[in-house]
């Protein structure tokens, strides 16, 4: 029997019971569409989050004091004997800046404090940094100018206000040139940032930015909390990382006691997390495909008993058992294949609708998800089609022909 004839006969049988066929197609289509849509949502979320991180600039490297063991159990011994990391200093910052693979460097000191102007006072986060910070963080000025280019170790009584701070201390007025009190120090306001919103979970709008030496005076420290480095282009990031570690190692008596976090690593971590979530969503949706498979089995069993006389006749005119298995299996496979096609179409339509409704998210079903949804649909059709097909083939022709 030719494959083409088997397929034709199966399709004819499916056409004979349009309602039954439509219902089964729908069941499979919903399963496939669920996989496509859910993975599209997961992928959309992944693209959104990694996009947000990338917008911070992937050329960014963050230098932390202390060596973070990223593999193994870490240095518990070091913790027990009270081994503390050597702190980073402004001199480390200047040394790093000499690397040719580095475009910009800025130290960062962070602490809590208050800012007041006249009777208005506000709790804020104080950022001690340098002029390069503006370009590294891609901040925009609302008014005035940012910190001046000057030696890092020169304390100056100046500051830049975050958007919210400026608005609340000077409602309806320009803060430029005004004097504010930060802790015990008086500073002149050089400018105010435009509204930045949240970036990496930190609200820049509620900060006051000062020269790093001024902030060190307020917090009475010589240490630097972080050093932010912008590499000389994306390709230079790994080399810049090696340079930083080497430079600081030389300065810290040959001890490698810093950690350099790259934006890439951060983005890659989120990427992995979201891919796992997407895979999980796909697996959950795939369960509905197995349910559809069970449905196929039920309906095919009914079809076998409905068509008992027909199976008897096929046997009478010489059909071999495997031909009967092939006919019923093909029918199940056609159902799941057609259902999968309808499901993919529904999924693509659904993605289009979601894109219109939520233009922020870039929904897209990963090809592997759609492909495996179709594969699982066909596989479940075949697996669950085997039992009914074998039952059909095992029918006794005399008994089968007695049924009308």
């Amino acid at each position: 029997m030719k494959a083409r004839d088997v397929a034709l006969m199966s399709l004819q049988a499916l056409r004979r019971y349009p309602l039954r066929t439509a219902m089964l197609l729908l069941a499979i289509a919903i399963g496939v569409a669920a996989v496509v849509l859910l993975t599209a949502v997961g992928e959309g979320a992944r693209r959104y989050v990694t996009g947000q991180f990338s917008s911070l600039g992937t050329e960014l490297l963050i230098v932390l004091p202390g060596r973070v063991e990223t593999s193994g159990g870490g240095s518990i011994q070091g913790l027990l004997v009270g081994e503390t990391a050597r702190e980073l200093t402004l001199d480390d910052t200047l040394a790093i800046e000499r690397s040719p693979r580095i475009r910009r460097v800025t130290p960062l000191v962070i602490g809590a404090g208050t800012v007041s102007s006249g009777a208005r006072e506000r709790d804020i986060t104080i950022l001690g940094t340098a002029a390069a910070m503006l370009a590294i963080q891609h901040w925009a000025m609302g008014s005035g100018r940012f910190l001046p280019e000057s030696d890092l170790d020169t304390a100056q009584p100046v500051c830049v206000l975050g958007h919210t701070v400026a608005r609340e201390l000077f409602p309806g007025a320009s803060p430029l040139g005004a004097w504010v009190r930060i802790g015990d120090a008086r500073c002149r306001v050089l400018g105010a940032l435009a509204e930045q919103g949240l970036a990496g979970g930190f609200n820049v709008d509620e900060t006051v930015i000062m020269p790093v030496a001024s902030a060190q005076q307020i917090f009475n420290t010589a240490a630097v909390f972080r050093i932010l480095v912008e590499a000389n282009g994306l390709d230079a990031v790994p080399a810049a990382r090696r340079d930083i570690i080497e430079i600081v190692k030389q300065r810290h008596a040959g001890e490698e006691d810093i950690t350099v976090v790259t934006q890439d690593a951060l983005v890659a971590t989120f990427d992995t997390i979201f891919n796992m979530i997407t895979a999980g969503l796909a697996a959950i949706a795939a369960i509905s495909l197995v349910v559809a498979g069970v449905l196929i089995m039920n309906v095919m069993l009914v079809a076998v008993s409905q068509r008992t006389a027909e199976i008897g006749l096929l046997k009478a005119v010489g059909a071999r058992n495997r031909q009967i298995v092939a006919l019923f299996l093909t029918e199940a496979a056609c159902l799941s294949l057609l259902g999968a096609c309808v499901g993919i179409a529904l999924g693509i339509g659904g993605i289009f609708v979601m894109k219109v409704l939520f233009p922020v998210l870039d929904f897209a079903a990963p090809p592997w998800a759609s492909a495996s949804a179709v594969a699982v649909a066909i596989l479940s059709g075949l697996v669950f089609g085997i039992l009914p097909a074998r039952r059909a083939a095992a029918l006794d022709p005399v008994n089968a022909l007695m049924r009308r």
Partner: protein, 227 residues
């Protein structure tokens, strides 16, 4: 040639063993025209099923065209049915979603015949049974007599040596039944052996050899004198 020797067929009904066929010895030559009659439960349908290889005997030897077919498996039986035997049923057993032409083509489809060749062959056969104008009708668009003629077409499309008919006119009015019998008799004259199981004495009388069964035994085997 069909040759039965000592054929038994037993069923278990509940706890009771029913001897549907009880040591039957029978020989049917090529080109014969045989009627099989007898009361209900006499085993005539079972005999036809065993002769047609749809049913296996419980014991005894069955030779079809000289080959022992008593102990073949499902697929070998199917192959022999395909080659030697055509069936005609009381309730036609046409596949409702297929056209008359497709129903006749069905046995050829199972053998993997090329679409064009089988179409030509099925068309010629339907023309020969007078259904030239009904090729693309489905069974529900045909009268009972026409349906049985389609079924005859399907039975002979593989050019079998034996045509087994179980109550072929049982579901038809007298006139259609008569037409069906004329077609079967024409096929017999063309050389196909025809075996008919029937209740209808008028139909049974037309054959040239009359078998009568009772309680699974052949109680009479009468041949008409050759004209």
């Amino acid at each position: 040639m069909m040759e039965l020797s000592g054929i038994c067929r037993e069923y278990l009904v509940g706890e009771e063993v029913v001897h549907a066929l009880d040591h039957i010895d029978l020989k049917i030559d090529a080109g014969e025209y045989v009627s099989i009659m007898g009361p209900s439960g006499s085993g005539k349908s079972t005999l036809l099923n065993v002769l047609g290889l749809l049913d296996r005997p419980s014991s005894g030897i069955y030779r079809l065209q000289g080959e022992d077919v008593s102990n073949l498996d499902d697929n070998e039986l199917a192959a022999h049915r395909q080659r030697h035997i055509g069936f005609i049923f009381q309730f036609f057993h046409l596949i409702p979603r297929l056209t008359a032409l497709e129903n006749v083509e069905l046995p050829l489809v199972l053998t993997g015949a090329a679409p064009r060749a089988r179409r030509e062959r099925a068309t010629a056969i339907l023309e020969s049974v007078g259904l030239k104008a009904r090729l693309s009708h489905r069974p529900d668009q045909l009268s009972g007599g026409e349906r049985q003629r389609v079924a005859i077409g399907r039975a002979i499309v593989m050019q079998p040596s034996f045509l087994l008919a179980d109550e072929p006119t049982g579901n038809l009015d007298t006139r259609s039944g008569n037409e069906i019998m004329q077609i079967l008799e024409q096929l017999n004259r063309d050389g196909i052996a025809v075996l008919i199981v029937t209740h209808d004495l008028g139909i049974g009388d037309r054959a040239r050899r009359h078998l009568t069964l009772r309680d699974g035994k052949v109680v009479a085997d009468v041949r008409e004198p050759q004209p």
